[in-house]
Structure formats: C-alpha cells, structure tokens
Amino acid sequence: MARPDTRLDFNTDWQYAPAPEATDHVRIDPQYELFIGGEFVAPRARQYFDTVNPAREKTLARVARADAADVDRAVAAARHAYARTWSKLKPAERGKYLYRIARTLQERAREFAAIESLDGGKPIRESRDVDIPLAAAHFFYYAGWADKLGYAFPGRRAAALGVAGQIIPWNFPLLMAAWKIAPALACGNTVVLKPAETTPLTALKLAELMRDIDLPAGVVNIVTGAGETGAAIVEHPDIDKIAFTGSTEVGRLIQRKLAGTGKHYTLELGGKAANVIFADAAIDQAVEGIVNGIFFNQGHVCCAGSRLLVQESVADEVIGKLKERMETLIVGDPLDKNTDIGAINSAAQLEKIEEYLRIGQSEGDMHQSSVRVPETGYWCRPTLFTGVSQSSRVVKEEIFGPVLAIQTFRTFQEALDKANNTPYGLSGGIWTDKGAKIFKMTRGVRAGVVWANTFNKFDPTAPFGGYKESGMGREGGLHGLSAYVELH
C-alpha cells in the first residue's frame, strides 16, 4: 500500500522529558513475613525468597516461603475467624469493612501503583490508571452487595461457603487479589490468599492495609510462596472453595486434585483471543485496538488479543499502519509516565517468550519495532508474526508476551471458524462499522467476553471468565457472587 519512500521518521529532535514517578513515598521493608490471624508471623521453616524488580534486575525484598504447616496455620486462622466473627457479623457490617478497604486503597493508591510497577514491571501509567483504581472499584462494588444477597438471588437464601483458598497470578497482582477477596468477603467467607512468587509485594501491602483498618483477625490471610504453597492450599482438607487464576497447565492439575473432594472451585485460565478486523472497520481506531489488545501490560494478559484476524482486502493497510504505530511505542522504565510498554515480569517469562520468538521465526515472518531497550532488565520489543496459520505454534499456544500472530480471512464464516478454532475461549474482539455483524459475531464466538470496536475494557459489574480450556465459573458482577455462595 505505502510507497517505499514515504516512511515516517519518529526520531525527532524534540524529545519528551523523562518523568519518573517518585518512590520516596514508597515503603518497602527488607523482609516480609506471612500474614496470618491478623499479624505478620515468620514462616515455621524460616525459608525466604527474593522478589526482584524486573526492570533493574535488583532484589526489592525478601519474602517468606510458606510450607504446608504455614498454610495449615493460615487455614486454621481463617476457619476460626469464619466461625467466631465473620459469619456472625451483620451483612451491612461486612459491607462497611469492604467500603473501608476500598477507600483506604484509594487513599494509598499512589504507593500501591508505584510498588506494582516496581515489583511487576508494568508501566506506571497502567498501574496508576487501571490496576489500582479497578481494584478499589471491585471492593466498592462488592461492598454494596454484602447486605443485598437476598436480592441477588430472589427467593433463595445465599449462604457463605466457609474458607476460600485463592491463588492469583503475577500479571495483575493487586487487581486479581481484589477480584478474589472482595466477593468472597461480601458473601461472608474468609480467605487464604497466595500471591504469585514474582509479585507478592502489593498483596503484602494489602495485608498491612487490612490490619490498619482493623479488619477482624483471620478474615484475610496472605501466604507467600511458589507452587508448593499453592499445592498445600489446594490440598488442604478444611478449605471449602478454591479460586485460581493462572495457566491452563496448573489449572488442569488443580482440577484433577479437586475431583471428588466436593470442594467448590472457579478457574480462570489462559487465552488466545482472536481480534477480528473487518474491511469496513474504522481502520485507524482498529489499529489502536490491536495495540491495546496485545501490548497492554506487555501482553501479560490472559484475555489479550494475541491472534489478529484481518480481512484480506485491508490486510496490507492494517499491517502497514500497525508497524508504523509500533515505532511510536515507548519501551522502558516502568516508573516513567511516558512509558507505553514496561519490563517483562521475570527472567523465566522472558525466556519463554524468546523461545516462542525462535519458534515463530521458523513458522513465519517476524517483525519487531526498532525501539531501543535498556541493557539491564528483562525486555521484549513489540513483535508481530505474519505468514503464520492455524497450525503454527505461535498461533495455537499462549505466549503471554508482546507478540502478535497475524492471519487473514476472506469471509465472515472463515473469521468465525478461525476465531473458534482454539482450545481457549476467554475473550475476543470484533471491529466493524456494521452493527448486525457485531451481533452475529458475538453470538458465534465461544468466549466469555467479546469486545466490539474496543478492547480490554473492564468493569466490576461485568462478569469475566472462560469457555473450554480458559476456565470455569465467572468473576465480577452478579455472576461473581454466585461463585462464593451456596443457594438454599
């Protein structure tokens, strides 16, 4: 489409001023213990691990590693709190605590945002504008339901399940904690939550917040650690419900362990969403949607639009504009307000992404933006693959990085077939000027959420969850409540 001699030059003499978020207001302790029964306690085995700033490859803090005995303590504390206090509390009182959490989170938003970016590598613009405000919004939303459960399930009585074991991922650490804790508490359950081992800090700051607002001891317990800690939660006999967000691989393992135990569970797993661009779409805005779909949070998003399906007649135009747009994405210091794309969350994740870049190059053509990335830290340039097909691994498998696989289609039916031809079904996107096409597509795509002419929009009132290997159960909205109650 574009003439070869008309390349735009975005390396202008005029540059933006660096604007790093100050960190002098942030307190990170050198060492964090487990939050059990309302206080911070050392792990029995005195084992600790480091949590690292992925943009600097520097250790931020030492964090306790909980073993099965620690998890047992935490579950006992949660059970005790459930039986003695939380289930006895008037629902409106539970709501007050949730409102208090929400308000305090807003008050401390700046510190939470900075720590989220330090520990996880995501740009401050996102942690400040998306992660933290949405986390607070979830607490506000479910606070409102606490004393209205009778209206949520008319004609039926909603009873709490008891102790919920919750295991969350590293891509949206605080937000995932909020998604899990808020509905659980609103419904009268108590919680043992394990944050991801690469991003435990905001959950631990949340524990401090819970203590500061005088949440009754044991209602929320936070145990840190890696896979073994999670396994101890899943296998604990006194837990009534498991809520997990993470990889499909681990989800399968959990489901196998839970089979026959009678425990309730919800799983929010991987995705490989199709973002479908029709020829009649508003192309320039669709390109923005593609960028937002795959490069938001470095592509560490389970509902990322990682498969682009573009109608053949506009494929060259869309890909050309996308490549041009990629040149203007700023990759670098997560704390800088100008940064569009931050650091890859961990060395292990970067290795996994790079492995896929190698695989993708044998399957199709790779294009990366020419942006310069810092020398230390874990970085991946915005990347796209063309010339790949449904049989390519970069099309089939979840990469969880800023890597887009592009395919073309000719007809509506072909687009729909390709969109559904995946073991996943978490999200999808459609871009067209025709309303009828939107409805036809959203009815046909087997995915929990489908965005039309936009992407990655979240709201506490909207249920979120997957079809097929993307999980079971829904979080958010009214649906999110039913995952934490038994109806009589």
Binding site: D9, D13, Y16, D336, T454
Partner: protein, 309 residues
Amino acid sequence: MNTAVRHLPPQLPALDRVPRVDQVGVEERVARFCTRSIKKDSKVQALKLALSMIDLTTLEGQDTVGKVTQLCQKAMHLHSALPDLPHVAAVCVYPTMVGVARRALRGHDDIKVASVATAFPSGMAPLSIKLEETRLAVEEGADEVDMVISRGAFLQGEYQRVFDEIIAVKEACGQAHLKVILETGELGTLDRVRRASVLAMHAGADFIKTSTGKIQPAATLPVTLVMLQAIRDYYHATGRKVGMKPAGGISKAKLAIQYLVMLRETLGAGWLTPEWFRFGASTLANDLLMQLVKQQTGVYQSGDYFSKD
C-alpha cells in the same frame, strides 16, 4: 514521466472508500497524547517550535490599517526581553489588508502574508467572485491563500462541485500556497471531516485547515487527529506531503504542546516544522511567551509585560 503525471486532471477520489472513523476510539487516542511529559528543555523547545508555527491572525470586520500594521509589528518583534526567539510563520488577514501587511512586513521576507479568500467565512458567493477575490489577494502580495470549502454543497452531497471549486481556486492562486478550510464545526461528524480532507488533498490543497474561527467548535484535538491521519495516508499513497493547520480556540501553550505531541506521534519529524504545520491563532503567542519567561525565571509575569497588538 513526472510532467505526464502533472498534466492529468485531478480526479474526485471514491469517497465511499475513505476509511471510517470511530469517534470513541479517536477520543481515547487523543487522551493518550495529553499525558506525555513535556517539561524543562523539552518544554522550551516545544514552546519555541509552537511560536514559529503561528499564523498570527486578525479577521474582524473592524480591522483597519492601524490594527493590521500593529499586528505586523508584533509578528516582527514578539518579545524583545527574550533573546533567541523565532518569529511567527505568517500573518493572516483579509484580502483588502494584504497590501497593508506586505508593506508593514517589508524587510522581513521570512514572515509570510496569508490571506483568507473565497467569501470567507461562509463561502456563500458565486465561484467567479471567489476566484476574483483569490486573484486579488495574490496580486496584492499574499504568499498563502486560506480558502473555505462550500459546506452547504458538501452536506448536500455535491462533492464534485466542492472538488472543482478547490481546483479552480488552486489555479487562481498561481504560486501562492493554498490552505483549504473545511470548517469542521459545520461538518458534524468525524467521518465527514475525513472525507472532506481526502477530497481537498486530491484537489490540490497544500494545507488543510480545520476552521475559520467564526464557528464553534473550531479546532479540536480529535478533529485534527483525523485530518493528520488523512494526511499520512495520502502521503503514503501519493508521496506528496500536505500541511496541517488547526485554527481557532487554541489560545493556551499547554494545548498547543498537546497538538505538537499528536503531530509528532502521527506524522513524525517531517511535519514538525512551520513549513508543514501552523496554528491559526491570535492570542496563543502571548501565552507561549509567558510560559517561556516562566521557564527562564521560574515565575509568571503579569500579562501587562507582553504586548497586545
């Protein structure tokens, strides 16, 4: 080969194939431009760049020889207290004032004289009168002509007429640069803004311009983004650069800098010069100057320290 291309008469492009525009998406993109960090050296550089892109404008029924002469003085002497200031790009006046401006700017050939024409601002006049007015402005010494399109005709779907008018005015301009004012505030939708931009560029516009300044809303960031994207696509398709001029309603330095951010991230280095980007404004210059002084001294001076001509 090139001459053969030049002699082909311009053809009205297929406007139904112009990309559609989604307003919500445009507004989201614009919001992102407004969060870039511009301060210290980066800000000084932006302020000076914005100053150099101004078409200093007076377009009033009450314009007099005295008023236009004062405006030209201002164009030549922005603020003597600050050394190393660029000068504005042009002064913009009515055709009858072109000669006055030309004489007042004698010795300053680097400041252009722009004239509105074609029955500005409504455009409600027969083509023959529009052409006559254009020729008069050019004869008086206008380097640039800012014409208005016939919005009524455009809204009636008479695209060919609008297209032919621009071609005719372009011809009447001779060597003078032609800026085509779309008056986006009267077009109603961003889809129409995009189509009108494509139409104007194919008809030979050297610049496309948002507004006359007489209709609200005048220039906005979303409208300008849509026009910049149209310019970008036209450049990729034809290899010809077209300039952009948002006009009306840009009176603050902060907003002007947001326009520059948008320009930088949409068209890049090639357009970040007064040759390809202009602000149509009357009071913007003083706010830019005030901010420049603030950058130098750390405090804001009273408005009384900046000449109002």
